[in-house]
Structure formats: structure tokens, C-alpha cells
């Protein structure tokens, strides 16, 4: 070092540094030794509580933007059964006084008929309590352990029960679903869509919950927020359902059923029960479902709270015709004569019948038998009327629903069914072209509609009959396939079952030159800022393998059903302006002994290219023309803005 004075100045700087150390050490001594106790307790008071912020669930809208389901903040009285403990009886008595609901009912609601609530999650006992109740509960929280009133977003149904079956409802997630990897991230107690659109589009609607991190002290008091993660709102689901059409279908179905209950049914010597029914309106070109009604219906808002076993049974029990059942997709019925157009299509395609010939329509038809054997059993199949209707072509046979023209077709399929020894040697078991053709129309398997719990109906064949008999010999005492199985299939009876939606889909294929569309209720999913996330891609790739000329022929024939004299639905459609709206339809009267007949009507309508398929079913509604056809007429009138015709008594035909 050249400058000796620099040494001194370095010492000055070093002294400054020593002062720094002294200051820091002193402070540390204060913090860590003198005040350590106080800071320790502060640190103990420091705890994080993470509170989940639920994501707003997406709104469900109809095709025109009308809200079908949204969220509304409601005051919900919840009870936590764990915290309730031994005080249950006293607390329930108190709540009973407060809410004016019997204590037994509240207790039963705690158990919940559907067992939707986990023991540690609060049960929403009453939705929409008053502010006064909320205040009382808050002020007497010590006296009411486990009871709370929370302002929660609750599913709200602006149109009430309209579309209830399609929309579905929410419930707490089941233990099975929690294990499902598709529901990763869900916790016990989370609400999920249980049925309908709420269930199918759960992952679109749900969104992602946010988090708020609070600092709380040892007393659990909130000392302020430390962090927050905004919830991601769920996407909105826009349906192909048109709320007006839906309401129209529901109202027509209800009104028609109410009217039917006053109609006398000669075969059962009583009024028609008309206990239940379904109606479907769809676009045959895209498969878009515009309305789907099921009677009786229910109020979906009931599922926002818990329910006692008794209330559940009273509202939704089998003795009340199981209103939760969506009969349009989960009700399986013999289709009766509404099946005939598809049998006719197969028979025309396979040259069993032709469009040019005329066939006799006697009051009954006897199946071929060995005439040289006097002991031979004769199987006689009756037409729906004893009268001989004369001879007619296939189109008229459809319009007048002549059973005795269809029975021989069934017998011809029986002939084809036989396998000669040559074929047998090549492994061919049997020929069942009718079943194959019906399957092309979508019968016998689910339509794959985007709604849960759909049934697939049944197209019986020899193999099915044998295996079912082997599995359930009591319910199905016969395992052998007979000519009668084919014969009854031609008129949609025997073991044949369809759902109303399946039938609507098949009529859609008939209307749209053989293209079978997968029916759907989703139009598109859009995010909360109204950008389209996903659009439903209509799937009409499947074809029925029937020459379109035969389908057109049948369609034209079905126009006669509603307009030609003596056809089955002419009376039901009397005065209808066919010049404005073209209607082709088919009645059906399905026999489901020992019950009264089930009433069917299926229609294809067209006015300047606006096409619809309408299918109506009424359980124990008598003849197709009596109950279902007037309901379908009402729906068609509403669809095209025509004045609605009053329900009147219409004489029974097929």
C-alpha cells in the first residue's frame, strides 16, 4: 500500500461495517430472544384456511336463447348431521317451529330419500327461507348447532317444469362416480348433474372452482386474504329444444290425456286410464330434437333440497306412474301398426309385395296349414275390424291399416327363414331379412341420443327367443321360433318393443329418403363470453338400404291415413288445412294385456320445406285415432301456427 493514510481510512470504513453488524445483532437479539415468545404465539396463530369458491354453473338455453335453467341466489337452510349430534331432536323441534314444517318431516328430509348427502356435508333442508329465518339462525347459532343459512347459487327453472325430463337435475356426487377417472378433481359433496342434459353435459356446465386462501388465527378468525384463484365459470349449453314447441307438446299431451280419461273404452268396459304418455318432435333432416315430453312430469326445483322418503314416494313413486321416467327414451312399448310402414318397406324391397298389385283385406286371415290333415291346428289372425274392406294396394293398406294384408307378408318371411341343407352345410343358420331391415331403421338398439338412461327396444329373432327362454323359462315359456312370430311382427306386436324416440327416428329416415340421423338435444356449447366452444355435428351417415322410390311410395300412402275416407285418422284430422301443411301419418293401437290398449300416432309434416316428425304415445289411451292422433294434430297445429283444435271424442279405429 502506497498511501499510509489509506490504512486509517480503511479502518474507518471497517468500523462502519462493525456498526452494521452491531445493529443487526441487536435487532436479532430483540426479535429472537427478548420478543421470541410473542412471535411464537403469532406464528401459531398463523394458519391457512383454503376455501373453495364454487364456479358458476353454465346456463342451459333453448335454440332461441330462452333460459331453461340458470342459477339464482337463494337462502338455503342447511343442517350438518355430524355437528347436530345428540341435540338432533331439540334442534329439529326448534326448526319445526321456525319453519312451520313438522319435525318428523324435517327429520325424514335429513335422511333424504335418494341418500344423496354425505354424513359430513350439510344437507340443504329448505331452499328459499326468509331473511327473518336467516337472521334468527345466525343470532341463535349456539342454540342451533350444525344449522346454518347460506346464500347459495341454486339451480332455477324460469319455465317451471317445462322440459324437466330433458334438463335433468343435480345431486351430490355418488361414491362410484368419485372413483371414475372422468370425475377426477371432484370431492365428496360436490353437486353433479344426475340425469338429463345436466348429467350428459356435466363437464361443460361445471366449470372449475376457484380458491381463496385466508390467514386465520388459533380462534379461526379471518385475518385477511393471502391469495386467490378466480373460479372458471362453466360453459353454457344451448339445446335444439324450442321452449315454445316443448311447452306446446307438454300441454297438448296433458290436455289430450285429460280428455282421454273421460272417454269410454268398450273393450275394458271402463273409462280410459290414460295414465302416462310421451311426445317427440324432431327435425328429420338433422335429427335435432325440438321437443321431448313425458307425462306425468315433475318439478325439477324440488331436487335442490333434500326430500323425505314419504315425499319422494308420494311425488315420484310407481303408483303415481313414475314421473321421473323419461318415457320418450326409457319407455319401451309394442309399436302396433305404427310399425307397418317399415315392414312394408322391407317387403317391397324384397319383392314380397309390389306397389302395383291389389291385395284382399278380409276380416280375418288363416295361416297356411296342411289341408290334407283334418287334425291340423288352424291359426286365425283377425283384422282390427270384422268387416271385409275389399281389395287394395299397399298404400291404402297402410292408410286403412289392414292387418290381414300384412299377416301374409310375415308368413312369407317364415318361408324365407328356412335354410336348405346346402346352406346349412356352409354355416348359415337362418334368414331373417325382416329383422335386418328393421334394424337399419334403428329398431332394436339405442338411438345414441345425448341423454342418459336410454333403452334400445327389441327386434326379436329366433336366436333371441331361444336364449331368452333358456335364461328366463318362466317369463318366456316358449323358446322356438314360429311363423306366428313373423306374422305378429308385421303389425308391431308379439315381442317387438320400441321407444317413442326410436319410432320418431325411423319416421325421420322414412321422410329423409332413408338417412337415419342420430337424434340429439345439443346444438352447441358456448363459453360464458358467448364464443362457441363446440357445435354438435349431426350424424346422418347411416342408411336404411331401401330403394327411395319405395320410401316415397309409403310416404304418399301415409298421407291417406289422415285424409282419405275410411282411413284410420281421417276423423281425427277432419277440417285440417292439408293445403297449407302436408301431413303423412300412421295410427297404432298396441295391445298390452291385461292393460287397456296403448295409443300411438306418428306423423311427418311439411310446409314449404319446414319438416317435422311428431310421435305421440299414450299408455292405456285406447285406439291410436282416439287419443294420440288428436294430440299429434294439436302439436302440428301449434308448430305451424294454426289454431288449436279442441279435443273431442273420436271413434276408435286401429
Amino acid at each position: 500500500m502506497t498511501d499510509p493514510r489509506a490504512g486509517l481510512r480503511l479502518k474507518v470504513l471497517a468500523a462502519l461495517v462493525v456498526v452494521m453488524f452491531a445493529a443487526l445483532t441487536t435487532r436479532l437479539w430483540f426479535l429472537q430472544v427478548l420478543a421470541a415468545e410473542q412471535f411464537r404465539s403469532q406464528a401459531n396463530d398463523n394458519a391457512v384456511r383454503v376455501v373453495e369458491v364454487p364456479a358458476p354453473r353454465g346456463v342451459i338455453r333453448d335454440i332461441n336463447g330462452t333460459q331453461l335453467v340458470n342459477n339464482k341466489l337463494r337462502l338455503v337452510l342447511t343442517v350438518n348431521r355430524e355437528e347436530l349430534g345428540d341435540d338432533a331432536e331439540r334442534v329439529l323441534m326448534k326448526l319445526s317451529e321456525l319453519l312451520d314444517i313438522p319435525a318428523e318431516e324435517l327429520g325424514a328430509r335429513l335422511d333424504d330419500a335418494l341418500k344423496r348427502y354425505y354424513i359430513f356435508t350439510p344437507v340443504p333442508l329448505v331452499v328459499g327461507v326468509s331473511k327473518n329465518v336467516a337472521l334468527y339462525v345466525k343470532e341463535h347459532s349456539k342454540d342451533l348447532p350444525g344449522v346454518d343459512v347460506l346464500e347459495l347459487p341454486v339451480r332455477d327453472y324460469p319455465l317451471g317444469s317445462v322440459g324437466a325430463h330433458v334438463l335433468g337435475y343435480l345431486g351430490q356426487i355418488s361414491k362410484e362416480k368419485l372413483k371414475d377417472p372422468g370425475f377426477a378433481g371432484y370431492k365428496p359433496g360436490d353437486l353433479v348433474g344426475i340425469s338429463g342434459v345436466e348429467g350428459v353435459y356435466e363437464h361443460d356446465l361445471a366449470g372449475t372452482p376457484g380458491l381463496v386462501k385466508y390467514r386465520v388465527n388459533s380462534l379461526g378468525q379471518n385475518l385477511g386474504e393471502i391469495g386467490e384463484l378466480q373460479p372458471q365459470p362453466g360453459d353454457d349449453v344451448v339445446l335444439t329444444i324450442d321452449a315454445d314447441t316443448q311447452e306446446l307438446a307438454e300441454n297438448s299431451l296433458r290436455a289430450g290425456i285429460m280428455h282421454a280419461r273421460s272417454v269410454y273404452d268398450s273393450s275394458s268396459n271402463a273409462s280410459l286410464q290414460a295414465n302416462a304418455g310421451a311426445a317427440v318432435v324432431l327435425d328429420p333432416v338433422t335429427g335435432a330434437i325440438q321437443a321431448m315430453a313425458s307425462f306425468p312430469s315433475f318439478d325439477p326445483s324440488l331436487f335442490t333440497r333434500s326430500m323425505s322418503e314419504r315425499e319422494y314416494k308420494r311425488r315420484f313413486g310407481a303408483s303415481h306412474s313414475s314421473p321421473l321416467l323419461n318415457r320418450a327414451i326409457a319407455g319401451q312399448y309394442p309399436p302396433g301398426s305404427t310399425y307397418k310402414p317399415f315392414v312394408a318397406a322391407s317387403a317391397l324391397q324384397r319383392d314380397i309385395v309390389t306397389t302395383s298389385r291389389y291385395y284382399p283385406c278380409p276380416g280375418s286371415w288363416t295361416a297356411p296349414y296342411n289341408t290334407s290333415d283334418p287334425e291340423a291346428t288352424q291359426y286365425i289372425f283377425d283384422n282390427w275390424t270384422t268387416a271385409n274392406l275389399g281389395s287394395m294396394n299397399i298404400a291404402t293398406a297402410l292408410a286403412k291399416s289392414c292387418d290381414t294384408i300384412f299377416y301374409p307378408m310375415g308368413y312369407r318371411y317364415w318361408d324365407l327363414f328356412y335354410v336348405n341343407p346346402d346352406e346349412e352345410a356352409h354355416g348359415v343358420i337362418s334368414h331373417e331379412p325382416l329383422q335386418r331391415d328393421l334394424a337399419y331403421f334403428g329398431f332394436g338398439s339405442p338411438t345414441r341420443v345425448d341423454l342418459p338412461y336410454e333403452d334400445g327396444g327389441r327386434v326379436p329373432d329366433a336366436e333371441w327367443k331361444r336364449t331368452t327362454h333358456e335364461a328366463y323359462p318362466d317369463s318366456f315359456p316358449e323358446g322356438q321360433w314360429f311363423p306366428g312370430d313373423f306374422i305378429l311382427m308385421t303389425i308391431g306386436q308379439g315381442d317387438t318393443l320400441v321407444t317413442p324416440l326410436q319410432l320418431a327416428t325411423a319416421y325421420g329416415a322414412l321422410e329423409d329418403d332413408g338417412k337415419v340421423c342420430v337424434p340429439h338435444v345439443l346444438d352447441h356449447v358456448e363459453s360464458s363470453d358467448a364464443t362457441v366452444v363446440r357445435r354438435y355435428q349431426p350424424n346422418c351417415r347411416r342408411s336404411v338400404h331401401i330403394d327411395p322410390k319405395y320410401l316415397r311410395y309409403i310416404r304418399d300412402g301415409l298421407k291417406g291415413t289422415v285424409s282419405t275416407p275410411g282411413a284410420t285418422a281421417t276423423a281425427a284430422f277432419s277440417g285440417f288445412p292439408f293445403s297449407e301443411v302436408s301431413v303423412a301419418g300412421k295410427t297404432g293401437t298396441a295391445q298390452v294385456p291385461p292393460k287397456q290398449d296403448y295409443s300411438w300416432f306418428a306423423a311427418m309434416t311439411d310446409a314449404n320445406g319446414e319438416k317435422h316428425v311428431v310421435v305421440v304415445l299414450v299408455e292405456q289411451g285406447g285406439h291410436g285415432a282416439t287419443t294420440a292422433a288428436p294430440i299429434a294434430r294439436n302439436i302440428i297445429e301449434g308448430l305451424y301456427g294454426l289454431p288449436l283444435t279442441q279435443f273431442t271424442d273420436i271413434a276408435g279405429t286401429d
Partner: protein
């Protein structure tokens, strides 16, 4: 020629014998404490999001390995070369500071790739600190006789340029470090007290003017206010201080034990692996651990001052004094804000805080100290 070369080799051989093991031990000791504290501060939150809990500590360990190489490099050449190239180094560091600020600079990928050559992003402000020390040492060692007021203001201007540039980044902490380097080196160079006072006054006026034209950012004012008047500011600004104090205070005499700090584990202290890493030491190792850490700094700074004393030339003295000033101030401001006696400025704790740039440059500084120490007889 041959004779001269032989002399060089001999002097190098002699130089290596005069390495200062205490200086290296202190720096490495601090870095090891840093690794422990970084792991404690980050492992929980990393594994909470499904990442490797050792992610940060492994990166820091890589930096440490690089840093040791940088130390060897900084000690290997004759430090007097630095005096020759000080001007170039200084100007280059200013260019880097400008490049980082301008949109052109950030869009020029070449410059950034050069920074990422060692696998990390080099903060030019760290380079500028060393560059300024070298520049001031070179300038001051050329001054003949007593420092005039012009000398003082000329050197102040040299420090002022990078200080202003980092202040605009905005990085108030680094500006303070530049100021400390300047003052420390001026004191050692023998600047008169009244010149320093005049310099202080000028700086104060300039800062007030800076406030007026809005150079100082909102949050910097907030933080300053949080220090000066805790009652006047928002919960947010108070939160850091409060949580840091609780963490350190709850450590007590002996600490709550490694990886057992509730404050640390529950993420109560923000930026805990960087600026508030001292709170981990305070909570988990207590007063004993904190004092051990300070002792290592004491050792390091004692050796640094010793190097300044022993240097064979004024350049070496000023270089060492500048480095000592830089390290001392960073240590004091950082620990000071952790314990609540200094305002919160973004200054990392040298050798301990997570971050590659500061670790590399601090080891480079120690390398220079060794350099001066090793060559004190030649």
C-alpha cells in the same frame, strides 16, 4: 524474453501459495447455508404442484459449481490487467444495461443468447457492480495528491450513470448498492468530509427532483412508506415485513429445527427463497444460526479489508475496498429489511439468496479479492 517469461512463471507459482483459505471458506459456508435455506423454502410448494421438490436447490447447486469456476478464473489473471481494461469493461456494462432496457435490446436475440450461454439469464446490473468497482479503482488510483471536488464529482458521475440506468429498470436496490460502492471507495481514497457532504446534498436534491418528475414508481414509494410509517400503508405492503418478523422472531434462540418452520412451510413469507431467505435461517436455526451467518459475513469482510490493507498498489486497495463496501451494504440492507430495520428493497443476500447472476458475480468478486491477495508481493 526468456528471462521475463521465467519471472512470470515464478511469480505465478509464488502467487498460488498466497491464496486465502479463510476467504474461500467463508464464501462457500454462506453458499451452503443458502442451499439448505432454499430447499426448506421451496420444497413444499414445489411438491404441492407436482414438481421435483429439489428443483430450485439443484439449479442453485449448478450455479455454485459454475461460481467456483468463475472464482478460479477471476483469481487466475493478474488483477492489474483489469486496470488497463477497466474503461472497456465499464462501458460494456453500461451498454448491457441499456440493451436490456430498450426494446431493441430485448429483441436482439444474439445478446440474450450470450447471456444464456451458461444456462441462466445474467442480470447486467450484477455485472455493472463489478465493472463500476474496477472503473472507480482505476480512476482513483490515478489521482495524484489529494482528491479535489472535481475528482469527487467526476467519480460520482461514473457511479451515477449505472445507478440511474438500474433505477429506471426499476431496481432501487441496485442503485443503492452503486451509491454505497462510490461512498466506500471515496472514503478510502481520502475524499474530504465536506466534499462527501456536498455530494450527499446534491444526491438528495436530485432524488427529490426525481420524485417530482415521477421517476420513482408507486410501489417504491409504498415500500418506503411502509418502513417509515407502518400505520399509513395498506395491508399488502405491511404483510411482507410482518410475516418476516414473525418468522424470525418465532425462531427464538435455537430455532424450530430444519424444515420445521411453520412460517416457512405454510408460505407465509413471500419471495422466501430470494430476498427473504434470511427468514428461513432465522426461523429454523434461531438466533444461533443467524449469528453464525453474520459471523461468516464478518469473516469474509475482515479478510476483504485485510486484502485492501495488504495490497501492493492503490488499485488493489480500492478494488478490495469497493468489493467490501458492496458486500457489506448488500448484507446489511437485506438482513436489515428481513429483521425490519431497513426498508424493503429488492436486494438479494449475497451468496445465500437463490439466483445465478448474483451468486456468480459475488464469487467473481471473491476471486478478485484473492487475486489481489495472492499478488501482494509481486
Amino acid at each position: 524474453m526468456d528471462l521475463a517469461a521465467g519471472r512470470m512463471v515464478a511469480s505465478e507459482r509464488r502467487a498460488i501459495r498466497h491464496v486465502d483459505p479463510l476467504l474461500i471458506a467463508a464464501a462457500l459456508g454462506l453458499a451452503v447455508i443458502g442451499l439448505l435455506a432454499i430447499y426448506s423454502a421451496t420444497h413444499q410448494s414445489l411438491s404441492a404442484v407436482g414438481l421435483d421438490p429439489g428443483r430450485y436447490v439443484k439449479r442453485q447447486l449448478t450455479f455454485l459449481a459454475l461460481a467456483v469456476m468463475v472464482l478460479a478464473l477471476a483469481a487466475s489473471f493478474d488483477y492489474r490487467l483489469l486496470k488497463v481494461y477497466a474503461g472497456i469493461v465499464y462501458v460494456s456494462s453500461l451498454v448491457l444495461l441499456i440493451l436490456v432496457r430498450t426494446p431493441i435490446g430485448t429483441s436482439v436475440k444474439g445478446a440474450q443468447r450470450w447471456f444464456e450461454l451458461f444456462g441462466f439469464q445474467l442480470a447486467p446490473s450484477e455485472v455493472a457492480k463489478i465493472a463500476l468497482i474496477a472503473m472507480l479503482a482505476a480512476v482513483l488510483s490515478e489521482v495524484r495528491g489529494e482528491l479535489t471536488v472535481q475528482d469527487v464529482f467526476r467519480t460520482a458521475a461514473l457511479a451515477g450513470v449505472p445507478a440511474l440506468l438500474v433505477f429506471l429498470q426499476p431496481d432501487l436496490g441496485s442503485s443503492i448498492v452503486f451509491a454505497a460502492i462510490l461512498v466506500g471507495m471515496l472514503v478510502v481514497a481520502g475524499a474530504r468530509a465536506r466534499y462527501l457532504a456536498l455530494l450527499g446534498l446534491t444526491a438528495a436534491v436530485l432524488i427529490v427532483a426525481g420524485f417530482q418528475v415521477g421517476l420513482v414508481r408507486e410501489y417504491q414509494i409504498e415500500r418506503l412508506k411502509a418502513f417509515l410509517d407502518p400505520a399509513s400503508v395498506s395491508e399488502d405492503a405491511l404483510h411482507n415485513r410482518e410475516q418476516a418478523e414473525i418468522a424470525i422472531g418465532s425462531g427464538g434462540l435455537m430455532g424450530v429445527g430444519y424444515l420445521k418452520g411453520s412460517q416457512t412451510n405454510l408460505d407465509f413469507v413471500p419471495e422466501q427463497h430470494t430476498d427473504f431467505v434470511f427468514t428461513v435461517v432465522g426461523e429454523e436455526f434461531g438466533f444461533a444460526g443467524a449469528v453464525l451467518l453474520l459471523s461468516l459475513y464478518g469473516l469474509l469482510l475482515w479478510r476483504a479489508f485485510r486484502v485492501a490493507m495488504l495490497s501492493r498498489d492503490p488499485f488493489g486497495t480500492y478494488l478490495a475496498a469497493g468489493i467490501a463496501s458492496m458486500l457489506a451494504l448488500q448484507m446489511f440492507v437485506n438482513v436489515g429489511m428481513n429483521v425490519g430495520i431497513m426498508p424493503i428493497t429488492g436486494i438479494p443476500l449475497p451468496f445465500v439468496s437463490y439466483g445465478g447472476s448474483s451468486l456468480l458475480l459475488n464469487f467473481a468478486a471473491v476471486g478478485l479479492l484473492l487475486n489481489v491477495h495472492m499478488r501482494r508481493f509481486v
